[in-house]
């Protein structure tokens, strides 16, 4: 057995084991932590497959951000967890659920294993036309030129998700600040960490964003890092969470999607199709969209974690 095969096998076994643990373990919190570890292992798997863009996204969003969201949910559910386990569904329901989930898995496995070889791929078409977009990273070219509509919808979904979370607020506190832990960090360690780490994190976030034009990286990964730095500032008590009624905040949140849609409309006027880029201006347009999306995504991702408004205006 070659070393790389051994590594791949070990990784695959660890992934399966971690997935099994996350599904089977009793405590919700342990399941979430299992899911986060699973995300990190998946990052390694993507890196082994040379999908560095996907690996970065998985580490930042799949493992990190989603894990953080689920951890918050697990903490919130802790008080009712015991009652929920008492009302566990009967054996028949559980067997039915296992059968349903199992057959979906089998169908998926069947679909993957019976893919024609070589699998249908648009990669050659991308490689042929990437010069038109003037960016060097094919993933960025696909996300912001060839399939820009998908990316636009993705950002709109994030805005909607944030509105969904905000709408969980009580009427009394509507427009106020999220109740995200404002830790009075007596020891000062988190305070110290935030002061040292945030400047470094902002530079790395900006670097990952900027390098996305030609190498793995991009706005989503960069924005996740920036959002993490923002959360660190709030957690350490250096900055308070914003009021959700703030006009400036809302303006920054919709700036990215608005610029994206405007560029799309400009395309239908200048290049003959929605989100089409006029010849020679593709890179300029792509960078404009990415630059506008970066602050919006940073705010949206941070606000998703901070949750619904909890404190009245003025507090």
């Amino acid at each position: 057995m070659t070393p790389s095969l051994a590594l791949n096998l070990a990784l695959a076994l660890l992934l399966l084991g971690m997935a099994g643990w996350a599904v089977l373990v009793r405590s919700t919190q342990a399941a979430v932590i299992g899911f986060m570890v699973f995300g990190l292992l998946l990052t390694l798997a993507w890196a082994r497959l040379d999908g560095l863009d996907v690996a970065l996204t998985e580490a930042a969003i799949g493992g990190g951000l989603t894990g953080f969201l689920l951890l918050g949910a697990a903490v919130r559910l802790r008080s009712v967890e015991h009652r929920a386990t008492l009302q566990a569904p009967g054996l028949a329901t559980r067997i039915l659920a296992a059968l349903a989930a199992g057959s979906v898995t089998l169908l998926l496995a069947f679909a993957v294993l019976t893919l024609p070889s070589p699998a249908p791929s648009l990669a050659p078409a991308v490689a042929e036309n990437i010069a038109m977009t003037q960016v060097g990273n094919p993933v960025t070219a696909v996300l912001l030129a060839f399939r820009a509509l998908d990316t636009l919808l993705e950002t709109l979904v994030l805005v909607l998700a944030m509105l969904g979370i905000w709408s969980l607020a009580d009427d009394r506190v509507w427009g106020g600040r999220p109740g995200f832990a404002i830790a009075h960090d007596a020891s000062g360690i988190l305070h110290y960490a935030a002061r040292i780490l945030v400047p470094i994190g902002v530079v790395i976030g900006g670097y990952i964003f900027w390098i996305g034009a030609d190498d793995p990286g991009g706005k989503f990964q960069g924005a996740t890092l920036l959002a993490a730095m923002w959360l660190l500032l709030v957690l350490a008590g250096l900055r308070d969470a914003p009021r959700v009624s703030s006009q400036a905040l809302r303006l920054w949140v919709v700036l990215g999607p608005l610029v994206f849609i405007s560029v799309g409309l400009l395309g239908s006027w200048l290049a003959g199709s929605f989100l089409g880029y006029p010849q020679g201006y593709a890179k300029l347009m792509i960078v404009t969209v990415e630059l506008a999306l970066l602050p919006s995504l940073t705010l949206i991702l941070g606000l998703l974690i901070m949750g619904a408004p909890k404190r009245e205006i003025g507090r």
């Binding site: 020891s187 040292i196 780490l197």
Partner: protein
């Protein structure tokens, strides 16, 4: 020269992996939060440090070497912060030691 560098890489990375192994063993076997944190941070500091030092000669640019060193420093920093916070939480009874 390249033989020497390769030998250095093998030696340093193997030593680093040994520290990771020892740290993991300590995490599993030590009796309370504080000793476990001690084992864990050894793995981060020395284990990762040795792996990074071992990989340095295999990089083909100063740029990549600096990135590796930065990763080590960042892990050192976050490891120190997190272990302090966990130890404080354990001492004040917020988590079971």
């Amino acid at each position: 020269m390249s033989l020497l560098l390769n030998l250095w890489t093998i030696l340093a990375v193997s030593l680093g992996v040994f520290f990771f192994l020892a740290g993991t063993l300590g995490l599993l076997r030590f009796p309370d939060v504080f000793t476990r944190l001690h084992a864990l941070t050894k793995a981060d500091n020395l284990g990762l440090g040795l792996v990074v030092l071992g990989l340095l000669p295999q990089m083909n640019s100063i740029h990549a070497m600096l990135k590796l060193l930065l990763i080590w420093l960042l892990v050192l920093f976050s490891g120190a912060i997190v272990s302090q916070m966990l130890a404080q939480a354990a001492r004040s009874g917020e988590i079971d030691s």
